[in-house]
Structure formats: C-alpha cells, structure tokens
C-alpha cells in the first residue's frame, strides 16, 4: 500500500483542521458560530473520506463522502434552523459549567489522552492513514462528549453529540475502507432523526420556558 505522500500530507492537514473545529465547538460562545463550525467539521470529514477514497481506490468511501455532505452539511443544519426558534441562534451562552480557559486546557489533556489510547491500537490496524485518522477521530469523540458535559444550551449540546458521531466516522473511514454502504446509510437516517427530535424538544422547551439553557432544568419546580 504505497499511497502518494501528497495525499497523506493533505489528509494530515485535514485531520488537524478537523480537530481545530472540534475545539471550536467546545469554546465558542455564540450558538450560531458553533453550528457553522459543525458544518465546517463535516465538510472536512467529507474531504478526508475523498482523500482516502483516492488513495485506496475505494468506491465505498466516495459514497460515504456523498452521504456525509448531503446529511451533515445540508440536511441537519436545515432541520435545526427550521425546528429551533431563530432567537436561540442569536443568544450567547454566558453561563457555562467551566470557564473557557479551563475548558481549553482540559481539551488539550483530552487530546493527549486520545493519542495515548490510540497508540496500542495503531499496531493492530496496519493501514497507514489510520496513523492520522484514528487518534484524531478518538480525540474528536472525546471533545464532543466534553462539549455535552460543559455546555448548558440545548443546541450546542446536540452539536457535541453530532461531533462524537463525526469523530467515529473520521476514525472509521481509515480503519475500514470497505465499510458497507448500508451501514453508513443507516447512520445517515439515524442522525437526522436525532437532530429532528432534539430540535423539536428544544422548540417545546423554548416555548414553555423562554430559554434553552437546559442546564437550569435540573431542579424541580412546583406549579
């Protein structure tokens, strides 16, 4: 398997930018900005799938790329914009569980942890591109989970969940180049449904409480 080095370098660059967008979803204040970062992240996932498809001559990966761009950069943002009230996108999230500098430092620790976790797996895989994609995908999964933990607005929490999903695929395209299209199609149906459900739920919460800061919903209230 001797892929051209330029593809390898471009994939590494895509991976680095992919990770940067994951950090951005953790750290941005505006809800709209984190949605745009998620779109950018999905586009980078698509790019990586195309690069890997070129390098390994795999038609499946092109299918993955096409499905990703259709669902994650077009369908899901459209669904979220339709279901969730436009007012939500203008809000800034002032109150977080942790302040931004500390969450950025934890982010750095999580990335190191992802590399530690991935290093014993790399020997087992044997695909050169997994060197890049596997640790970065795992890091994006961690960062998505951390986003869900640290943010209190509903839409950014959903975006964290979707970032986890992006991370899984980013690692997956490198490990299993011939993933059956049916599996990807199943995910492609699943994820918009999740987005739709959370979007509807957020809309209800917003209509009832006038806010989408779901972090405040922990305590019970008598009516």
């Amino acid at each position: 398997m001797n892929s051209p080095p330029i593809l390898f370098a471009l994939d590494a660059l895509t991976g680095a930018l992919f990770l940067l967008t994951a950090i951005g979803v953790v750290a941005t204040r505006q809800v709209l900005a984190s949605l745009q970062l998620f779109i950018l992240q999905s586009a980078l996932l698509t790019l990586s799938a195309i690069l890997l498809g070129l390098a390994e001559d795999s038609v499946h990966l092109f299918a993955v790329a096409a499905i990703t761009i259709a669902t994650k950069t077009l369908l899901i943002p459209w669904l979220l914009r339709r279901t969730v009230n436009a007012e939500v996108y203008r809000t800034r999230e002032i109150e977080r569980v942790l302040n931004i500098p500390s969450s950025l430092l934890i982010t750095a620790v999580l990335i190191v942890l992802a590399y530690v976790v991935a290093s014993p797996l790399l020997n087992a895989v044997g695909v050169p591109f997994a060197q890049i994609n596997l640790p970065l995908g795992i890091a994006a999964m961690f960062l998505g989970a951390f986003t869900i933990a640290v943010r209190r607005e509903a839409v950014p929490q959903l975006l964290g969940l979707l970032a986890v999903e992006n991370g899984v695929f980013f690692a997956g395209v490198a490990i299993v180049p011939n993933l059956p299209v049916i599996a990807e199609l199943a995910a492609a149906v699943d994820v918009p449904v999740v987005a739709l459900v959370v979007g509807m739920l957020t809309r209800r919460i917003h209509a009832r409480l006038g806010t989408t800061a779901v972090g405040q919903l922990a305590s019970l209230r008598e009516e």
Partner: protein, 316 residues
C-alpha cells in the same frame, strides 16, 4: 567575509528605513477598508521628522531608566535584524551570535525596559498599561515556548536559517499539520504581542482602554520619536520572522551578488504588503476583546500549539 558584514548592515538599514513605511501602509489600508481616504503612507516619516525637531521634556522625578529606555527600545530590533534572515537565504556574519530564542530574549529586554519606564514617571496610565502588558506577556509566554519547542523539534535547530529551508524542502512539508497549526498559533501571538485588534486597539486614543500604547504616553520630542520608531521596527521584525522563517521563505537572495541582495528588498516588501492586507482584514472584521477575554484568545493559541506538538510527535 567583508561582503557578509556589508549585507548584514544592509539588512539593518532596510529594517530601520522601511519599518515606518509598513506602519503607514497599514493605517492607510485600514482607512480605505472603512471607505475613508486615510493619511499618506509616508505620514509616519513626517511624524518622526516633526518629533525629532521638537524639544524633549523629562520629568524631574524620573530616574535614568526613563532616559535610557528609548535607546534600549530602539537598539533591540536593530540588534535582532543582525540575527534573522531579512534578505538572504544564507547566514550572514552575525547570524550565529544567537538563535530564535535569543531574538525573543532581546525583544523581551526592550519590553522590560518600556514597562519600567512607564512605572517610573508615576503617570497614572503608565503603570496600568505596564501591568496589562505583563498580563498579556505572561499568558503569551507558554505559547512562545511551545512554538519554539515544536520548531526546534521538527527542524533539529533553532537557528532561523536552518528552520526556513526545512519547511519547504520538499514542498509536502509545507502542508504538514504541525506547520499549519504553528502558523495559526504564531499569527495569534503576533496579534497579541504587538497590541493588534482582538487584544488591543493600536489606533485608540482612550487611555483607560490602552494596553500597549499607554506606556509611552509620557515621552515627547526625540524620546517619543525613538519609541514610535522602535515599535514600528519591532512589528517589522516580527513580520520578517513570521514570513521569511515560517511561512514563505521564497524571494530571498541565494547568491552572493550585490544585485541579488538588493533585488530581495522589493520582494520582501511585497510579501509584507500581502500579509498586511490580510492583517488589516482581520483587524477590521473583529472587535476588541474585553480585558479578561484575552485569556480565552491566548488560551486558544496555546491549545493550537499543543495540538501542533502532538500531531508532530505522533507522526514519527
């Protein structure tokens, strides 16, 4: 040997002569982007000329530090210009006196003196600006260390002449993720260190909001001219390190001929112009951050540089 010394002196002359021009072009471009006409690009030279012919007033309460600081500030970038590749690809006579860490130390010395001088006069705004500069400085320090760590780790050296060839031979190295991430982190550092817009507003006239500029408020006449010139040169030197060493080491003289070295001057200025356009765009599209949000900005730069190190470590 003799011509290497000569070229080294030409480098210094270029830095001294063209630094105000870069400042003039920057402010003119910014005004144009805001649909105004703006001052002439030679305005900084006229300001310097005017200030040099005015009387200097020094407070009786101030000590020798206040009087020495303009000369230290002016000498530091001049000294740095001896060390870095301004015009040539090959090391010149003084190039091995210090590496990139040395460059950082020399610039830090000038910053240290500027802070002391700001405290010295007991002008209420001076110490405030000095303490804010120190705050930005100690936040930026770890990022600097991570950036230099990565550079020395990748290139096996911190001598700028070795680093610059490492990033582009072969050209695939340019697209290395650690390189691109380093560029982003270093760009954020330049914005923070030079008091550019997300961190500080360079053209602001409101003393309470100043970070960098309030340190030299007390200077007049020749002292003010030297401080102004020094800050323009510091910016010029940072741009040269960024462009010639890290981003685009092209357009520098390869041979020993005088013509080639002189030809490199317009090419380098062209590169700086292209970068200034980008910088003006960044400055015009962002708003100044509140003081305590600066930690977030530099924290982001720190994480980016950490990621650069990690991606580099894992690639081996």
């Amino acid at each position: 040997m003799l011509e290497r010394i000569l070229y080294n002196l030409i480098q210094v002359a270029v830095v001294i002569a063209f630094a105000p021009l870069v400042e003039g072009v920057t402010s003119r471009l910014k005004e144009i982007l805001q649909s105004k006409r703006g001052p002439s690009i030679f305005q900084p030279y006229r300001d310097l000329w005017k200030l040099l012919h005015k009387d200097e007033i020094v407070s009786q309460q101030s000590s020798w530090i206040f009087r020495v600081t303009p000369y230290v500030s002016f000498a530091a970038p001049v000294f740095v210009a001896l060390l870095i590749p301004v015009l040539t690809r090959y090391p010149l006579f003084f190039a091995f006196m210090a590496d990139m860490l040395g460059v950082g130390f020399v610039l830090a010395l000038a910053g240290f003196f500027a802070c002391l001088a700001a405290v010295d006069t007991a002008n209420p705004y001076g110490p405030m600006g000095a303490s804010r500069t120190r705050m930005v400085g100690f936040l930026a320090e770890p990022v600097f260390i991570m950036v230099f760590l990565t550079i020395s780790f990748v290139a096996g050296s911190t001598i700028p002449y070795i680093v610059q060839t490492r990033w582009v031979t072969p050209i695939a190295n340019f697209f290395e993720p650690s390189h691109i991430l380093l560029l982003i982190a270093f760009l954020m550092l330049i914005l923070a260190e030079d008091g550019r817009i997300p961190v500080d507003s360079p053209s602001g006239q409101f003393e309470l909001a100043m970070i960098d500029r309030s340190k030299s408020l007390e200077y007049s006449g020749r002292g003010a001219a030297l401080m102004k010139w020094a800050s323009a040169m510091k910016f010029f030197v940072l741009l040269i390190v960024f462009l010639n060493v890290l981003v685009t080491p092209w357009g520098l003289a390869r041979g020993m001929g005088v013509g080639e070295v002189l030809l490199a001057i317009p090419l380098v200025l062209l590169k700086i112009f292209c970068f200034v356009v980008v910088l003006v765009y960044i400055e015009s599209s962002l708003a100044k951050l509140r003081l305590f949000r600066i930690t977030e900005f530099i924290g982001a730069a720190f994480v980016i540089s950490v990621v650069a190190v990690i991606t580099r470590l894992s690639a081996i």
